[in-house]
């Protein structure tokens, strides 16, 4: 059946509202700071084939667009015919299309008259999934089993009843089980609420209208994206960019992107990227494709809500066994940073085709710094885990400076408020501010990065870094300068100062160690000599650049001083 334009608008906005409210509800009831403060989870509704219909507007692109392949894998492995109303499915298997083990997908199949017609899905980054160290984030993992507990597709609930054996198996393999239980509860409660609201939609509009509307949502988005791609000149574009090391060795590893635009189709070929890393700096095909999809969506149809249709004109090719299509038993813990590099290289390659929609590379890393261990609190001796995300700045754009100290790219986790961090964790902050001169110079300046510096007040704490842009800076575009590199230092300015590599497996920290993490800056856009004098003066006045940099990068002499 066909659905008229008005009913379509009605159904579409209702579905997005449901997905949005799923995330709000999960954040309100969650226990881990990663969710309640940092929002590191995403929700969406998928159709019977496991295609995205509606995603929560605050969802992370990298979470959402990796869900379809993973869900399709779950359904295939468990068998569609074995799914029942009231089932809650779970997995963290990256090889069927996920991200890394800490990201756990919870999905509820939704039935109408005995047939599955949709899935409510909630994927959250668990603060711990077991493995080599608390926070489960060592880049030196040489196989997936070191990352943590591998949850194959399972039913956490069967026909509404919990599966205690499976739940206990998972909870026994993670640190801080009470947080795990609380978080899991908030994840599946949100799926239940979504189911009730979809039932109400069926009652209102009829099942056939709803499912026809779902199909139409995808069709229209595809048409919109194709129309936009068709405006780009046909051609072949190429760029490559690298990561500092693979987690176990320091040798650079490369992401190679070839973009072919033909009419309304884009083919992005990553096949010439480096071989699979020996450490954790790999990603699945699904995650690499997700980064490409984010890049294309942001330059073709940024105004409209994304869904499966937004990505149909995009074909992503990879070589199995490369770092962007890792095979068992490779670790993918650092998938986020690999995806940032896929994004950067894709944007750099396609810049020649898209004119003023181009954007220079941002700070280009998740900047993950896990500080974890045990601490004594009034109610006992506990694990603590805090994930300090230390990377964020926009690259400059064709008519605007890059934004300072803000997340860019397919992830969107926020910071823990300092006061919340100090209340829950044995940390004491000494600095949290923007660092001048870290954005690349240009006619438009790259965004400045920031610093977070804190003392670790526990003598049983460890740090691990799974980050990047420490050796190779984010490049500028069209004559813009690169941004500054990132920097990770213990006890800066003392005689036991220690500079850490961007990939540092768990190391012990002495009590009162000062940890300083500093983000890379974004790349600049255009020739710095073309920069408007008033912008330089404004940057100087506000301390976004120093006088030395104004002179060196822009040849600027402050006329009001001598």
């Amino acid at each position: 059946m066909s659905v008229d334009a008005f009913t379509l608008a009605v159904v579409h906005s209702s579905l997005i509202a449901i997905a949005r409210d799923m995330k709000i509800m999960t954040m309100r009831t969650a226990y881990t700071q990663l969710w309640k403060e940092q929002g590191d989870l995403s929700c969406c509704l998928m159709d019977r084939d496991g295609e995205i219909i509606a995603q929560d507007p605050n969802g992370f692109p990298i979470h959402v667009t990796t869900m379809p392949l993973q869900l399709q894998g779950v359904v295939e492995i468990l068998g569609r015919e074995n799914l029942r109303p009231g089932d809650v499915l779970a997995t963290n298997d990256p090889f069927i299309g996920g991200t890394h083990l800490p990201d756990v997908l919870i999905a509820r199949p939704l039935f109408h008259q005995g047939e599955i017609y949709a899935y409510a899905c909630n994927r959250g980054h668990w603060a711990d999934i077991g493995g080599m160290g608390p926070g489960s984030y060592s880049p030196a993992t040489s196989d997936i089993h070191q990352e943590g507990i591998f949850i194959p597709p399972v039913k956490l609930f069967e026909a509404g009843e919990p599966n205690p054996g499976v739940l206990e198996m998972i909870m026994s393999n993670i640190r801080n089980r009470s947080i795990g239980f609380g978080d899991l509860r908030s994840q599946y409660a949100s799926c239940e609420t979504a189911e009730r609201r979809l039932d109400a939609l069926i009652e209102r509009y009829g099942f056939d209208t709803l499912t026809a509307g779902m199909a139409e949502i995808i069709t229209r988005s595809e048409a919109m994206t194709r129309a936009s791609i068709a405006e780009f000149p046909d051609g072949d574009y190429h760029a490559r960019d690298c990561l500092d090391g693979d987690g176990r060795t320091e040798a650079k590893i490369w992401v190679d992107v070839k973009v072919a635009i033909r009419g309304s189709d884009i083919v992005v070929d990553l096949s010439d990227s480096s071989d699979q890393a020996t450490g954790g700096m790999n990603c699945s095909y699904s995650a690499a494709a997700s980064a490409v999809q984010y890049a294309i969506k942001s330059i073709t149809d940024p105004e409209n809500p994304p869904n499966a249709g937004s990505y149909k004109p995009i074909t992503v090719k990879t070589r199995p066994g490369s770092l962007v299509d890792a095979q068992k038993p490779g670790s993918m813990i650092g998938f986020g940073d690999v995806c940032y590099r896929v994004l950067d290289a894709t944007m750099t390659a396609i810049a020649g085709a898209i004119g003023d929609r181009a954007i220079a590379s941002g700070s280009g890393s998740t900047g993950t710094a896990v500080v974890a261990g045990r601490q004594q609190r009034s109610n006992g001796d506990h694990y603590f885990t805090t994930i300090e995300l230390s990377s964020g700045a926009y690259g400059a754009r064709a008519s605007r400076d890059g934004m300072n100290a803000i997340r860019y790219g397919p992830g969107n986790a926020g910071h823990i408020p300092i006061e919340a961090d100090e209340i829950e964790n044995p940390l004491f902050f000494e600095a949290y501010e923007i660092v001048p001169d870290t954005g690349g110079a240009g006619q438009f300046r790259g965004g400045n990065g920031f610093v977070r510096a804190f003392r670790v007040m526990s003598d049983r704490a460890q740090i691990c870094l799974c980050a990047d842009r420490h050796e190779t800076p984010p490049p500028g575009l069209s004559g813009g300068q690169p941004g500054a590199t990132s920097r990770y230092v213990l006890n800066p300015g003392t005689n036991h100062e220690q500079v850490l590599a961007s990939k540092t497996p768990y190391i012990d920290l002495d009590a009162d160690t000062l940890v300083r993490v500093q983000s890379a800056g974004g790349g600049g856009y255009g020739d710095p000599r073309e920069r408007d004098q008033s912008r330089i003066a404004d940057d100087l006045k506000n301390g976004y650049i120093t006088e030395d940099a104004a002179a060196a990068d822009y040849g600027y002499a402050d006329k009001t001083r001598k």
Partner: protein, 692 residues
């Protein structure tokens, strides 16, 4: 308190118009005036509205004994970036908390990589760090550096700063350094406005606290100048009664109390009408209500349970959080001026952008070329082109038709009528979706509530929305367009006090909590004393903010009885509320006490609500016109009534259109209208199979 012989005035300053109501304390008679805003002189707009009313009602200035004033002047100052030149003092090395915010992008920007966040109200060169530090226990670990403070003060002086926000880490536990900054600043610069975070938001999380403090500082000089200017003008005209300011929490307060935290006014705009709805519908016997207020640019929805509007403490303005007690009004961009469009692949959108009042909808003929919701309503036959807004804005049907044909019907390949009905359905769904957000998503069933429709556009859409939600009754009050000023005129005093605790409740003694309440009660008593509220008019509502230990969002649980016997009862209440809000509870998990809260209400004499005489006559329509009803094919003749001809006890059945100066009500088939003795229209939806 009000002398019953005089008059009270309520003022509601909106984006385009200022509404003024004059109410006799003795008879309850209401007169109203709507004045076009003079943006160069807002106080003069208000005073001219008052003078007009006094003249029309033949009331002497000296007989005015009470003025309650709702204003959006602070909100506009923020949105237009026309507030004071403001500096921010923070801990050294933490001055960018305001700019970095949550670090994550707001949802609107995730794919829009070419757009920026709004710029902070304080530019970086006026964000000044001073060394000092309090830790998470409230202990001072670094004393305040007086030399750095002196440097900051010198910079503030040199830059000609008018207002200063001060926010240090953990100042909600120990405000000593913030107090010290105020002491030095006010000694050096006595005319400066100074706002301390520890005095306006005593809660953890530095970004919302900093942002709220900055908002307060940024608007303080604006609000002060406005109030003093207004008082002087009123005095010139012989009006010397007290002036009270309406706050976002739905109550009024003395200007001196509001000036302690001017951010309290920032979200007061939509609250007046909610308070009015709770009062007037309460008198008519309705205590559980969903309010639906549709103006030119937005829809505001709020839930009222047991005559009390739901409250919240967080909202955003321009992507910056405002942490103040406020009514939980959910706003979406769907109003009369909302733009209706079809994108390149045939998707229909209503809002959120609006044409506002100028140039406004295409049918206004003021140069607006976009199709808007008002154009749609006109084409459906819901609005009378000649009598809209009392005939002050003649509507041009041909322009509406051209805009809808070109921008909606044409691209979709349907005729204009089909486009109009279709868009009306889309708008109905958006409104219903907003109501679901404040009901279903928070554990309430909309079918348990009556829908109150007001604002110019509310009564046009209420019938269709009620049908979609399964709501059984709709109330359309008299003068729905002036509801807000009336609510403000009769609002009670309302103050909120809070003390942060953030400890597992098992570790807190009942005596500690009692002591906290005693301290808050002392503050409440001082404020209510200052407002001359007699003891028998004071009501204190204590509550605890609780959550499961480890969660981050708390639930405010009213405290029915003393906690002297322990916390078992209130913890039980908390589990139940958690279950209602989030579908589950975990009774064996530890609970954390986050805040001790006290709301102090000083109830104000309410003018009587005079019942009108009713003859129970069946009203006669003034005519009929073809209307495209949303659930029928093609235009149907629908009888049109004048609201002012509907006396109490009047009854009629839908479909019908009822017109009055400030609004038009659409009643659909299978709905019965009865006018109650307060002249409210009560619209009842028949159940399937039910006959009148």
């Amino acid at each position: 308190m009000a002398d019953t012989s005089g008059y009270r005035i309520g003022i509601d300053v909106g984006g385009t118009f200022t509404d003024v109501v004059l109410i006799s304390n003795e008879t309850g008679n209401v007169s109203v005036a709507k004045v076009l805003n003079r943006h160069d002189d807002r106080a003069e707009t208000v005073v001219s509205g008052i003078e007009r009313l006094l003249g029309e009602a033949n009331v002497e200035p000296a007989d005015i004994d009470w003025i309650s004033h709702g204003t959006t002047i602070t909100t506009n100052a923020v949105i237009e970036r026309k507030g004071a030149k403001t500096a921010l003092i923070t801990n050294k090395n933490f001055r960018d908390i305001l700019e970095i915010g949550r670090f994550a992008r707001p949802a609107e920007l995730i794919y829009r990589v070419h757009e920026d966040k709004p710029s902070p109200l304080v530019p970086r060169y006026l964000r000044l760090g001073v060394s000092c530090r309090v830790d998470r226990h409230g202990d001072v670990v670094t004393e305040l550096d007086e030399t750095e403070l002196a440097q900051a003060i010198a910079a503030i002086q040199a830059e000609g700063v008018e207002s200063v926000a001060v926010c240090f880490l953990f100042s909600f536990l120990n405000p000593v350094h913030e107090a010290r900054v105020r002491e030095s600043l006010s000694a050096a610069l006595p005319n400066l406005d100074i706002v301390l975070s520890s005095e306006i938001l005593r809660e953890f999380r530095e970004f919302p606290r900093t942002a709220t403090t900055v908002f307060a500082a940024y608007v303080a000089p604006v609000l002060r100048a406005y109030i003093s200017g207004l008082l002087a003008r009123l005095a010139d005209r012989g009006i010397n009664c007290p002036l009270y300011i309406f706050q976002s929490n739905g109550g009024v307060a003395q200007p001196e109390i509001v000036m302690r935290n001017p951010a309290l006014t920032l979200l007061s705009g939509p609250a007046g009408a909610v308070v009015g709805a709770a009062q007037l519908c309460g008198q008519a016997g309705f205590r559980d209500l969903i309010t639906m207020d549709i103006g030119g640019t937005s829809l505001d929805v709020c839930l009222i349970r047991g005559s009390v509007a739901e409250a919240t403490t967080t909202r955003e303005i321009d992507m910056f959080p405002v942490g103040i007690p406020m009514l939980d009004v959910h706003t979406i961009g769907a109003g009369g001026g909302s733009i209706v469009r079809v994108d390149d692949v045939g998707r229909v959108k209503v809002g959120p952008d609006s044409m506002g009042a100028r140039p406004g909808p295409a049918c206004y003929g003021l140069g607006g070329e976009q199709a808007t919701l008002t154009d749609i309503n006109l084409l459906m036959g819901l609005l009378d082109p000649a009598t809209f807004a009392n005939g002050e804005v003649p509507l041009d049907r041909a322009r509406a038709e051209a805009a809808v044909a070109e921008r909606v019907a044409g691209p979709l390949g349907v005729d204009v009528d089909a486009a109009a009905v279709g868009v009306y359905r889309v708008a109905t769904n958006q409104i219903a979706e907003a109501i679901r957000t404040v009901t279903v998503e928070r554990g309430s069933d909309p079918r348990d509530y009556a829908l109150v429709a007001f604002g110019g556009g509310g009564p046009l859409h209420a019938a269709a929305v009620a049908r979609e939600l399964g709501v059984a009754q709709i109330i359309v009050p008299r003068h729905p367009g002036l509801f807000s000023a009336r609510g403000i005129a009769t609002a009670d005093f309302n103050h909120d006090y809070i003390q942060s605790v953030v400890r597992p409740i098992a570790e807190v003694s009942a005596a500690d909590v009692a002591a906290a309440f005693t301290a808050l009660e002392g503050q409440a008593a001082r404020d209510l004393d200052a407002e001359d509220v007699p003891a028998d008019r004071r009501e204190l509502a204590p509550a605890l903010d609780l959550r499961y230990l480890g969660q981050t969002t708390e639930i405010t649980v009213p405290l029915a009885e003393s906690v002297a016997d322990g916390f078992d009862d209130i913890i039980g209440e908390f589990h139940q509320l958690h279950e209602r809000l989030y579908t589950y509870s975990v009774p064996d998990e530890p609970v954390e006490l986050v805040n001790v809260r006290l709301r102090a209400v000083g109830s104000v004499d309410k003018p009587p609500l005079p019942p009108a005489d009713g003859a129970g006559e069946t009203p006669k329509p003034i005519g009929e016109r073809p209307v495209l009803l949303p659930d029928l094919e093609g235009a149907q003749p629908v009888p049109v009534y004048r609201r002012d001809q509907l006396a109490p006890d009047a009854k009629l059945t839908g479909p019908a259109i009822i017109e009055e100066a400030s609004s038009t009500t659409l009643v659909l088939a299978n709905m019965d209208v009865a006018v109650d003795r307060f002249e409210n229209m009560i619209i009842t939806l028949r159940q399937p199979g039910q006959t009148p």
